[in-house]
């Protein structure tokens, strides 16, 4: 009887293997493909991109305020002389104070979007966390990765890529595309110039959140071998510690254990919504004292109260998480 290898026309593969970048990319794609097979993830994706579309629409509508004969002006004229007068005032203010209004409005839009983006990312990561390292440890699949031409660093970078992919798809992507679309139809260069800084702030916050979430997700995922337990730990880290950190009189060190609270502090510091509101109250004419007082009050609330402590908390979390996932992976 022929041997199995002789009875089959087995092609040989003697080509040069693709590089390590490709192999890491394969891990990323496989992880994301698996995640977005689920209805839950598809739902999150649709919410995220709807929000991106809302940014685009909001930016587009705002930019129409400077469009002579644009649809916003036509609507105002149709609504009566009062609306037309209001439209003329707003147009005038935007034209005179683009640094305050364009910057301020986009800061507020991106600030609001960062809440949704972070929340969607945390939800998506709840599904991803067990798939990152936990499952590979429990099913011994880690051996399959590490017995191939991949190091544990490559493996971790691949898994990190999955988290980056999730955040890009549910947060950064909609934010950037929303801004780009709104700028495509912008009627004035000022919209691009004065919305760019808020965009950079939003992206910087996005980057900080990415590092914090990625390290925590990898750490939690590497901690135990049971997927259900991993999800439970993730929920405790997110919702449990978030709740504990809520009371205003809670000790600072307890507050700093919450990733959502720490990121909230970083958000306030990065977006500087307080500065935008104070600026608006100080620079814009035609505002009565009560309205200016409201703006200043809102600015006070939007101030970061413990930015350094929050950064310290995030740093400690990242270091501890890194220690966990490097320790739990077999040596190279």
């Amino acid at each position: 009887m022929d041997s199995p290898a002789q009875t089959l026309d087995l092609s040989r593969w003697r080509e040069r293997p693709l590089g390590v970048g490709y192999r890491r990319w394969v891990i990323v794609v496989a992880g994301l493909r698996e995640l977005f097979r689920t209805r839950f993830a598809k739902f999150l994706l649709s919410v995220a991109w709807s929000a991106g579309l809302m940014i685009a629409l909001a930016g587009f509508a705002f930019s129409q305020s400077l469009a002579e004969g644009g649809w916003l002006q036509t609507l105002a004229i149709k609504a009566g002389p009062r609306m037309e007068a209001m439209f003329t005032v707003v147009t005038g203010l935007v034209a005179m104070y683009p640094d305050v209004l364009v910057n301020g409005v986009f800061t507020a839009v991106f600030w609001a979007h960062s809440y949704l983006g972070l929340w969607l990312s945390l939800l998506a990561l709840s599904s991803v966390v067990p798939q990152l390292i936990t499952r590979d440890r429990s099913s011994n699949a880690l051996i399959v990765y590490l017995s191939r031409p991949l190091t544990s660093t490559d493996y971790l970078l691949g898994k990190l890529g999955i988290i980056v992919g999730v955040l890009v798809l549910v947060w950064t992507g909609p934010l950037l595309v929303g801004w780009l679309l709104s700028m495509l139809f912008a009627t004035d260069r000022d919209f691009i110039v004065y919305s760019f800084e808020p965009l950079l702030r939003a992206l910087a916050f996005n980057g900080i959140a990415l590092v914090a979430l990625a390290s925590l997700a990898l750490g939690v995922s590497a901690l135990v071998r049971r997927p259900q337990l991993t999800v439970a730990i993730w929920m405790v880290m997110w919702i449990g510690l978030g709740t504990v950190a809520q009371p205003p009189r809670a000790p600072a060190w307890i507050k700093r254990t919450s990733i959502t609270r720490n990121l909230n502090e970083v958000r306030q510091e990065f977006f500087r919504l307080d500065a935008a509101l104070t600026d608006a109250g100080a620079k814009l004419p035609l505002l009565d004292q009560r309205f200016i007082g409201n703006l200043n009050g809102a600015a006070k609330k939007a101030e970061a109260a413990d930015f350094d402590g929050a950064l310290l908390g995030l740093g400690v979390m990242a270091v501890l998480s890194s220690w966990v996932f490097f320790r739990k992976l077999r040596p190279e």
């Binding site: 290898a5 490709y22 192999r23």
Partner: protein, 313 residues
């Protein structure tokens, strides 16, 4: 001591390789040069076989010594040392939520194969290991035998030059075992893929491998070709007569040979040579009825026991 081989001919070159876990020495000063071919790795449980393989694959960091796989230093060139290596571990190692076909393709891609080639070879390899339509089912739903096959497939998908197989026939039914053993045997013979096979089934090793390494207490006790090992072993002939067992016994005893009757009715005789010509001659002379004659039936088993006992001693 086997002669020093040219570097290109070796799949494994280890020099003083050792691994310690706390106070326990799992691997002690293993120095060996293993030529290409099909090599069996034998040893009792906890002898250090798997540790040896894991050290070679960098899954465990050796505490002492150095090693090269296919001429590539495992520490100096970590990734490159595994580029042309396949590994099928003893335990399950599937990725949950993936179909068999998808899993093997993914493993091919992890070794640097473009998707299209990986998918094509996946189907060929899955045919080779004897998997049919089950390949489209989730690996989580596979029986032990099917998991074993898919594990072998992932080790072969990227066309490695050497493949490490840890207990590859565990959990397979007799026909499945037969198929996989034939396949393993043909890997070197027909495809030029060297095999290092770890098994506690000595008959599987004897049947498939042309060389054997015996490891005990973390030490390399024996390393030689099967032929070489058998030549160093006392020669035994096992005879299963069709009838007249007593006449056989009498004939051997009359020739001055030590004969032992086994519980299964077979006769075991110590022989002076590997040839069985003298048995046939004796049967002709005494007009004995036909019998099944097997030379050195359990040579490897006896040698294994002897090596392990010597190590204990």
């Amino acid at each position: 001591m086997p002669p020093v081989l040219p570097a290109g001919d070796c799949i494994i070159e280890a020099a003083g390789l050792g691994k310690t876990y706390g106070t326990q020495r799992a691997l002690r000063d293993v120095t060996v040069q293993v030529p290409r071919g099909t090599i069996g790795l034998l040893g009792p449980n906890g002898a250090g076989k798997s540790t040896f393989i894991k050290c070679l694959l960098n899954l465990e960091t050796p505490t002492t010594g150095s090693a090269k796989v296919l001429g590539v230093d495992i520490r100096a060139a970590n990734r490159a040392s595994r580029e042309k290596v396949g590994y099928s571990p003893e335990q399950d190692c599937h990725i949950a939520g993936m179909a068999g076909c998808e899993y093997v393709t993914y493993c091919g891609q992890l070794s640097g194969m473009p998707f299209r080639q990986a998918r094509q070879r996946t189907h060929e390899i899955l045919d080779l290991v004897g998997m049919g339509q089950e390949r489209y089912r989730l690996v989580d739903t596979y029986s032990t035998g099917m998991k074993q096959r898919v594990k072998l497939a992932q080790a072969l998908v990227h066309d490695p030059e050497v493949v490490f197989l840890d207990e590859p026939t565990n959990g397979l039914d007799p026909s499945g075992r037969e198929h996989i053993l034939k396949l393993i045997g043909s890997l070197w013979r027909d495809l030029g893929i060297s095999v290092v096979m770890c098994s506690h089934l000595l008959r599987d090793i004897e049947r498939v491998c042309d060389r054997v390494m015996i490891i005990g207490h973390g030490r390399l006790l024996e390393h030689d070709s099967i032929v070489g090992l058998k030549a160093r072993h006392r020669r035994i002939v096992e005879i299963a007569p069709a009838r007249d067992t007593e006449r056989f016994q009498a004939a051997f005893a009359g020739a001055g040979l030590t004969v032992v009757k086994l519980s299964n009715g077979k006769l075991r005789v110590e022989s002076a040579s590997d040839s069985i010509e003298w048995v046939l001659e004796l049967m002709r002379t005494h007009d004995l009825p036909p019998a099944e004659i097997v030379s050195n039936p359990d040579a490897l088993h006896e040698l294994f026991i002897k090596s392990i006992s010597a190590d204990h001693g």
